[in-house]
């Protein structure tokens, strides 16, 4: 390697990050080297702190620095509603709506046999356990609207109905983006929206 060992190691470490190729890694490494030493120190500190202080919440399995997380311990939230999502970032997206006031459950993925991901690799058992005490009356399945997300939702719906039949299971709707014009919607979204039409 033409770079000094520490630099080569930094580039190598950066290359392991998602979406970062060798060229970007080099650019990032040299940017870091050019900046004052305390900036590098702060970056390293932030990475280590995030990695050591962030855990998954023992109830909803979202990422948190306190256990249970702020959402789970917030007394004002509606404890009868549970929204099931694939990833922590989906919780953030739902929270941005400021409309949903219930609790969450993060699966950390979707069922995908080709990737070796089955229900045991997701927080499915934990989800079922949360339903047993009877406090939850509705589960909203908000997995992604793609093939894996749909299959995961179908799997969970059957499972929840068989284990806790009293719990209502719903699936978020698919449809048109708000504020857009009908003529610009793609055909697939439009036909899904038509499928999910309701009476006025």
């Amino acid at each position: 390697m033409i770079y000094p060992e520490p630099v080569a190691r930094l580039i190598d470490a950066l290359t392991r990050l998602p979406g970062i190729g060798p060229k970007t890694a080099q650019r990032l490494a040299f940017f870091i080297l050019k900046r004052p030493a305390d900036e590098a120190q702060a970056l390293a500190g932030a990475i280590v702190a995030a990695r050591t202080q962030v855990v998954t919440c023992s109830r909803c399995h979202n990422l948190t620095d306190t256990d249970p997380c702020r959402l789970c311990s917030d007394e004002s939230r509606d404890r009868t509603m549970l929204c099931v999502v694939q990833e922590p970032r989906d919780v953030a997206a739902m929270e941005r709506t400021r409309e949903y006031r219930g609790l969450y459950h993060v699966l950390h993925g979707a069922i995908s046999p080709l990737d070796g991901v089955g229900p045991d690799d997701l927080r499915v058992r934990e989800l079922v356990a949360r339903l047993h005490d009877g406090s939850v009356s509705e589960v909203i399945l908000a997995t992604n609207p793609n093939v894996e997300g749909e299959a995961t939702a179908l799997y969970l719906a059957r499972l929840i109905r068989s284990v806790t039949p009293a719990v209502r299971v719903t699936r978020i709707a698919r449809g048109l983006p708000v504020g857009g014009d009908l003529e610009y919607a793609d055909e697939v979204t439009l036909s899904k929206a038509l499928e999910g039409r309701r009476e006025l």
Partner: protein, 403 residues
């Protein structure tokens, strides 16, 4: 619609070409292996996103290069459009841009439509079922983005289901895994119902059009027929694929509950597929593959009620294949309101003079035509034809035919 300009870079045997086309009849003349078909393939790729020769992208890249570019300027009634398809080998990436804006090349179309006629089209009639499925899928995919989406979803669900089947082969009593399989059954049936309904609807229109063209080409009294046989839906045993053609009424019954344009898939068909999958489950696990579904569908082509595959002459089979392509052209033209490009790859040499004349007059109606041939066989070209000489990956305008 007209393709005004085409640029190819590192595509097949072309390092770099930039061509301006004539508005009506373009003739590519050159010896075998010169690259005539590659030009037509480039145009077809721009229209459909995939090679009409069913070749994978890496094979389209010129030897030693890292990716290809196909660029075209299209004049449509609505105005000009620039299409740019870029493929990179490693890491593999394919991008389609329409007027500079990126669109998903697998789901969204770019507004160019083309029909590719090749000598291998004989396989549409004589060949394996996969060739008829590819034809129907290619046509439906050009007609509907929803169909493209359904095909992708079906392919993905099928691969996932087959993976579960293989995992189940070792341990049959894994209740949890059986539940996972059930979830994939439902996903698969959803996509499959949509595909089957659209294939059935297509078959009816395609048959009517192809029969008309067959009569025009063959000039005889025989009637061309086409029937769709969805695999597994009418089998007696679960593993037995129904190769016998179902009656039209049986198909219509399955597709009931949804008009041709309704968005919801017919519930009867979906339920039928689910029960077929459930009955076939044990055999599927043994095979590690899904036996029933649109990936095994078949079409039969008839001539006056007898199967053309076994009883038709080669000439009749060739005419039937041409008739199917001409029907494709007609359906595309009706859907977009503009005549699609016609890419005729070496099809003249296979026909007698009378059929050649009929094909050219049928084909030439309002379409921009690209005709590749080693020789013209004395065939008179329509006035205003533009001739190109193709040799060793080079293309040179050879003048305008005024005859």
């Amino acid at each position: 619609m007209r393709l005004e300009r085409l640029r190819l870079q590192a595509f097949r045997n072309y390092g770099a070409v930039d061509l301006s086309w004539g508005p009506a009849f373009n003739v590519l003349l050159g010896p075998n292996g010169a690259g005539k078909t590659n030009l037509l393939e480039g145009i077809a790729l721009l229209a459909t996103g995939r090679s009409p020769r069913a070749v994978r992208d890496p094979e389209l890249v010129q030897w030693g290069e890292s990716g290809y570019l196909v660029w075209g300027r299209v004049a449509r009634r609505a105005g000009p459009t620039v299409l740019e398809l870029r493929y990179r080998l490693a890491p593999a990436e394919k991008r389609l841009r329409v007027d500079g804006a990126e669109v998903a090349s697998t789901v969204a179309g770019g507004g160019l439509q083309a029909v590719f006629f090749s000598p291998e089209d004989l396989g549409l009639v004589r060949g394996a079922p996969v060739q008829r499925r590819r034809f129907a899928d290619g046509l439906l995919a050009q007609l509907s983005a929803t169909y493209r989406h359904l095909l992708l979803a079906f392919g993905r669900a099928l691969a996932q289901r087959n993976q579960v089947l293989r995992e189940l082969a070792g341990r049959r009593l894994d209740a949890e895994l059986v539940e996972v399989l059930t979830a994939w059954d439902a996903s698969l049936a959803d996509a499959a119902a949509g595909i089957i309904r659209r294939r059935a609807a297509l078959t009816a229109t395609l048959e009517a059009r192809a029969a008309g063209h067959y009569a025009g080409l063959a000039g005889g009294g025989e009637r061309l027929g086409l029937s769709y046989c969805p695999a597994g839906l009418w089998g007696s045993g679960a593993m037995q694929q129904a190769r016998a053609a179902p009656t039209r009424a049986a198909l219509a019954e399955l597709a009931a509950g949804a008009g041709p344009d309704a968005a919801a898939e017919p519930p009867v068909l979906r339920e039928r597929l689910l029960s077929v999958l459930e009955v076939a489950r044990r055999d599927d696990i043994k095979q590690g593959a899904t036996a029933a579904g649109p990936h095994r569908d078949e079409w039969r082509v008839w001539l006056d009620g007898s199967d053309i595959r076994s009883f038709g002459s080669r000439g009749q089979q060739r005419c039937a294949a041409l008739a199917l392509r001409l029907a494709e052209r007609e359906l595309l033209a009706e859907a977009s309101g503009e005549a699609p490009l016609l890419l005729l790859d070496d099809v003249l040499s296979e026909l007698d003079e009378e059929r050649r004349r009929r094909l050219l007059s049928l084909a030439g109606r309002d379409s921009q035509v690209f005709l590749a041939a080693t020789a013209l066989h004395g065939q008179a070209l329509p006035p205003g034809s533009t001739v190109f000489a193709v040799e060793q990956g080079r293309v040179r305008p050879a003048g305008t035919e005024v005859r």
